[in-house]
Symmetry: C2
Subunit: 341 residues, 2 copies
């Protein structure tokens, strides 16, 4: 079997570290591994399943001989480096926002539009975390009844702001628990512990934030639905690494909650947990704690949208998924894996 030279950019961050673990878990045919990061981290040694790797400062020449780049760096790094990687013959799976909406750049959730990968010109974009987690369960329902409108309220974990976000929430909970003074918030605009912050991203369109518009703009591209309308409200919650979403869908055709549940139970990447009568709370509905550090999107609370004037044209549900894994690293490595098949 062909072995690939793989480079992870942003290898020391929350997503980069997870990508390394996902390569092993998904049995990716790694021949040689390169770990790239900022100059600050260069020279550090990392034990990997493919031997000890010395972190290099990310630069164009690092990509010589690289087959696949997994990008876990910010937009500016992505814009500066990945065209250089492509120029040197690599294919880049990029988790940043830099190229997601560019023509000629497939934006891929493997459960939904794996076929789009074929049309790449060197860069394939990984969608935003909240987009992936919301769309994986929306897709099988769309296939049944044709989704035309989504109303989404998110409950997003600290990990969406990377390692600094998680460390800040842990430090705040630590201070509360020990009765110490609350450290000044830096990763977030305000204290997150025992609080909610109803803004993620800057203002983008009519008071909606960049994060809120991603679900519509990325969703349209991924599901090939240019007319899809999405109203999203993104809220940061004091949870470590699983995003949750309360989603209401409107459809072109009738769909019953039973049909929806059946489709979700059979859908790839989805685990249906929907039984209010279950003895254990873990079997009643998805919760962030139960969905952390695993790869599926858990879906529950599936019911008819009783507010929709057309009786069977709306479905409401609740879903949770690990933000660092399926929201980022897992999805990127899945795309990379498809490139090798």
């Amino acid at each position: 079997m062909k072995q690939y030279t793989v480079a992870i950019v942003g290898a020391t961050g929350a997503v980069g570290t997870q990508m390394l673990q996902c390569l092993e878990e998904q049995e990716f045919p790694v021949g040689e591994l390169k770990l790239l990061a900022s100059p600050r981290s260069a020279g550090k040694k990392v034990e990997t399943p493919w031997g000890e790797v010395v972190i290099e400062a990310a630069a164009p020449e690092c990509f010589d001989g690289v087959d696949i780049v997994l990008g876990a760096a910010e937009d500016d790094v992505a814009k500066a480096l990945y065209p250089e990687a492509v120029h040197r013959g690599a294919v880049v799976v990029d988790n940043s926002h830099a190229f997601r909406l560019d023509e000629g750049v497939p934006l891929v959730v493997p459960e939904i539009n794996a076929g789009d990968i074929a049309s790449h010109h060197g860069i394939i974009a990984n969608p935003n975390c909240a987009t992936i987690i919301g769309l994986v369960p929306t897709w099988p329902l769309h296939q049944l009844a044709g989704v035309k409108r989504m109303i989404v309220s998110t409950y997003q974990a600290a990990s969406g702001a990377g390692m600094p976000g998680m460390l800040e929430l842990e430090a705040q909970i630590g201070a509360m628990g020990r009765g110490e003074e609350m450290p000044t918030p830096r990763a977030f605009a305000a204290q997150l512990a025992s609080n909610l912050i109803p803004q993620i991203g800057g203002e983008k369109f009519e008071g909606f934030t960049s994060e809120e518009m991603k679900l519509q703009n990325e969703g349209r591209k991924i599901m090939h639905l240019p007319e899809l309308r999405v109203n999203c409200t993104c809220v940061r919650v004091p949870v470590l690494r699983s995003h949750s979403e309360s989603i209401t869908l409107e459809f072109e055709r009738d769909i019953t909650p039973e049909q929806a549940r059946e489709a979700l139970a059979a859908a790839p990447g989805v685990k249906l947990v929907d039984d209010l009568e279950a003895e254990s709370a873990h079997d009643r509905w998805p919760m962030p704690l139960d969905t952390s550090d695993q790869d599926l999107i858990y879906v529950g609370r599936v019911r008819r949208d009783i507010s929709n004037p057309e009786a069977l044209r709306g479905i409401t549900f609740w879903c949770c998924g690990d933000q660092i894994r399926k929201g980022a690293a897992t999805n990127a490595v899945q795309i990379a894996k498809l490139l090798t098949e």
Copy 2:
């Protein structure tokens, strides 16, 4: 000025204790104060602005000579005791769910339907906390454009489960902060710290819970809108005492976000906090920490529902309010105050 003999039932709980404080803050003309609770608390002494009061075990004869009862007890206590209180000539403002939907029992949010109080037959019901917090800002928008549909996702605080809920969340955060073993959850079905629990109340209708159906059933009665359709998802979040709600409204007539903001800024009981560009996070949008232990509903993130097929028929917003105060005690004392005027 006439002075009233007031009894608080459930005086030792989170809401009962807050009612006592609200009586003082709202300068209620208390002549004599009676504090009633379970036999377990009987005999305890409480310092009040009206002197030291000895807690009595709640029983029908306690209501002899009482003018106004503030009820902060559970449904079963309410059903057993309040008809007895009415029989003895008292008017009861009840925070339980026992009588809310009964004919002849006004269900009142003073900012919305104070006029309904006049039709009481001894019992006036205080709505559910999430209902009050969601409807106070919905009402001025309804007056402008006629609301016909609400899609609501809640972010509900631990205090909704009373003092035991708050103590449990604090104990869990304490254990996390000190690195100790997590105590077994009792007030909630699962660990709430660093987690979300997407069920409040038992199953009521087509998979919606009792808590979720309250917003529709109580909302219809309070706003005199028997056709109002509400799709609500209730979620418990690790926040101490302020509920938050992400609300999308559909209207009969056109309404712009500017008109909505103007109406909210002028509405009684509402504080508009809606400026993504504000220097301080506290001036950008409402947060639970900023809205705890005060009486207003803070509203922000007011914007056009860009998913509504009719351009100006939808508004989306975010609101927060203290669950124990305006969600319960403050609203009840406001109703009682209107009874004296």
